[in-house]
């Protein structure tokens, strides 16, 4: 073993910097998560602070906001998944059967573009378009006589999830289709020829040949998205929050940020974060197992 390491010592030198990073910034925080089980005081350190077991977890689950957070986080991700998952597949199937290469290129170039806009800009665009008085949407609705007065959509808790999900679809639909297009390019052309001989039209080809051929890709991506179902990202929800829509926009990650960093309840928010990632991991493993049970390959 030692001889074999010596022989390729250069390879270990190449890995070393990244390994140090992983140990420092991935494994140290994993060790640091122990503070979730104690009454952590920064001066006393992790081993000096008092252990209090599951106290913070229990406290979190008995807070009024617990169910609000679960409901908001779950509904945003389930809504994103239900609305956002099929659309890139439809786009890929549509692009795949377009006859004009040039039109296909144009659609691809344009729909991929929003992926590269930062979340800050995306939310900024929502804010200027939907601004109560001066936004273009408000202006148009008023001049068309469909509305009278300011547009209050940005501060309306009921509108939050729709804005969140559909702006996400606007940004991600093109990008999400790339992977399916790649899978579709691997479909054997002789399958199409055979189906055509049997009298299939283009709709039949897309539905009975193309879609089943990319099923493994679809299942893999579905598993991955289900695993992140409680993992609503911090950035967009945080940026879209305002004091009036909090009842719908406060999610677990923004709550961890506020209670932890703004109010310095380190142990408590570490516990909330740990609770969140434990559920995510469980979901990922469960869905993966289910997929295997139904004869799909799974990701592990």
């Amino acid at each position: 073993m030692i001889d074999r390491v010596k022989e390729n010592i250069g390879l270990y030198i190449l890995v070393l910097p990244a390994l140090l990073y992983v140990i420092l910034f991935d494994y140290m925080p994993l060790y640091g998560v122990l503070i979730a089980f104690e009454n952590f005081k920064p001066i006393k350190g992790i081993w000096g602070s008092d252990w209090i077991g599951l106290y913070h977890f229990e406290r979190f689950m008995h807070l009024d906001i617990f169910w609000v957070l679960i409901k908001n986080t779950l509904s945003l991700s389930v809504y994103s998944l239900l609305a956002g998952f099929p659309i890139p597949i439809i786009l890929a199937l549509a692009l795949n059967s377009v006859r004009s290469e040039r039109f296909k290129k144009v659609v691809q170039t344009v729909t991929y573009a929003p992926h590269f806009i930062s979340t800050v800009i995306l939310v900024g665009m929502l804010n200027v378009f939907l601004s109560p008085r001066l936004g273009v949407v408000s202006q148009l609705l008023n001049s068309a006589g469909m509305m009278n007065g300011p547009l209050m959509i940005l501060t309306n808790p009921d509108a939050f999830s729709h804005l969140y999900v559909w702006s996400g679809i606007w940004q991600g639909v093109g990008w999400g289709s790339i992977i399916y297009l790649a899978a579709l390019s691997g479909v054997d052309p002789s399958l199409h020829e055979a189906a055509k001989v049997d009298g299939a039209n283009k709709f039949h080809l897309a539905w009975h040949v193309d879609l089943p051929s990319i099923r493994p890709t679809i299942v893999t991506l579905l598993i991955l998205s289900c695993g992140g179902i409680l993992g609503i990202g911090f950035e967009k929800a945080f940026l879209m929050q305002n004091s009036l829509n909090l009842s719908a926009s406060e999610v677990i990650s923004t709550y961890v940020y506020k209670s932890g960093l703004l109010q310095s309840q380190y142990s408590f928010s570490a516990a909330v974060g740990l609770f969140n990632s434990a559920i995510n991991l469980t979901l990922l493993l469960t869905v993966n197992k289910l997929a295997k049970k139904f004869g799909q390959s799974g990701i592990f």
């Binding site: 390994l19 925080p29 786009l91 344009v110 930062s118 804010n127 990632s277």
Partner: protein, 300 residues
């Protein structure tokens, strides 16, 4: 063409619906982007009263004049350029080095080290333990932290390793070894020159990610001279009054309504100015992005 002749009526219907669907999608994705551009060059009061719909009205650069006088934006711009260059250089070199080592089947203990890197993809300590660690290291308000955090991505390493495994034959190393070439010499003199395609993919991915990121800066940088562009944008685009104060619009002879229009329409220009670098590289970089997703979709 033979296929043209044989298009059945069902196919014609399919093609028509398909093209109509894609055209609609194209407009939905393109119009908001187009609107930002024309609004940024238009007379602010025309934008503010909903007169700008399809073409710019009262073409002018007043908004842009104000933007160039807004110092904090340019401080942010400078910082982001530095963070993007530094962060990209660091991330791309670590990724290449690690991925190369992981591509070598004769590296003893490879499986164990790879597993060490894979585990954090699924479980991580979360925000609070990471924050406490960074604070312990006295890295708060140290600009290095936003370049270091996230510089090792196992996802990128897997893509790059797949590239090495599929494009660089292992026999090449055997040959170089006979010529007295060590692992590191082989990596820098033989592997890297053959890997321009994957290096381009990594640079583009990482640079756009850095340019658009704001989370780490929000958490770890408080000093106003260090904050990146996206944090400045967040202040401008998500608050209503900030802009007018920052631009000292309170003084002058314009009336209040016009000032409000101006403050609002400057935001369009700011969106353009801050997305410009990404928009400029996008047409050239698009194929690299797509290539990255394609390589990533092959199971490595």
């Amino acid at each position: 063409m033979n296929a043209e002749v044989r298009r059945s009526r069902a196919d014609v219907v399919y093609d028509t619906v398909n093209v109509a669907f894609l055209a609609l999608l194209l407009i939905i994705v393109l119009y908001p982007l187009y609107f930002v551009v024309i609004a940024s060059f238009s007379d602010p009061s025309a934008v503010g009263t909903g007169k700008v719909i399809l073409f710019p009205k009262g073409f002018n650069f007043n908004g842009y004049d104000l933007i160039f006088k807004y110092d904090q934006l340019w401080v942010g711009y400078r910082n982001t350029v530095i963070y993007t260059i530094g962060g990209t250089a660091l991330s791309v070199s670590l990724t290449l080095m690690t991925a190369y080592a992981f591509s070598r089947k004769d590296m003893a203990g490879r499986g164990f080290i790879v597993t060490l890197f894979i585990i954090p993809m699924f479980i991580h300590g979360g925000l609070i333990p990471t924050y406490l660690l960074v604070r312990e290291m006295h890295m708060i308000d140290n600009p290095l932290i936003v370049m270091i955090l996230g510089c090792v991505s196992m996802w990128n390493i897997i893509i790059t390793r797949t590239f090495f495994q599929t494009t660089i034959p292992q026999e090449l190393f055997e040959a170089a070894k006979i010529d007295g070439c060590g692992n590191i010499g082989y990596f820098t003199k033989v592997v890297l020159p053959l890997s321009k395609a994957i290096i381009a993919v990594l640079v583009v991915f990482s640079a756009v990610g850095q340019w658009n990121s704001f989370f780490n800066a929000l958490i770890y940088l408080n000093d106003r001279n260090l904050i990146p562009l996206q944090l400045v944008l967040r202040e401008i685009l998500t608050s209503q009054t900030q802009m007018m104060q920052q631009l000292e619009l309170g003084i002058g002879d314009q009336d209040m309504a016009e000032k409000t229009f101006l403050a609002e329409s400057v935001k369009y220009g700011i969106i353009i100015v801050s997305s410009l670098p990404v928009l400029c590289i996008y047409p050239f970089a698009q194929k690299y992005f797509v290539k990255g997703v394609m390589i990533g979709s092959l199971k490595g």
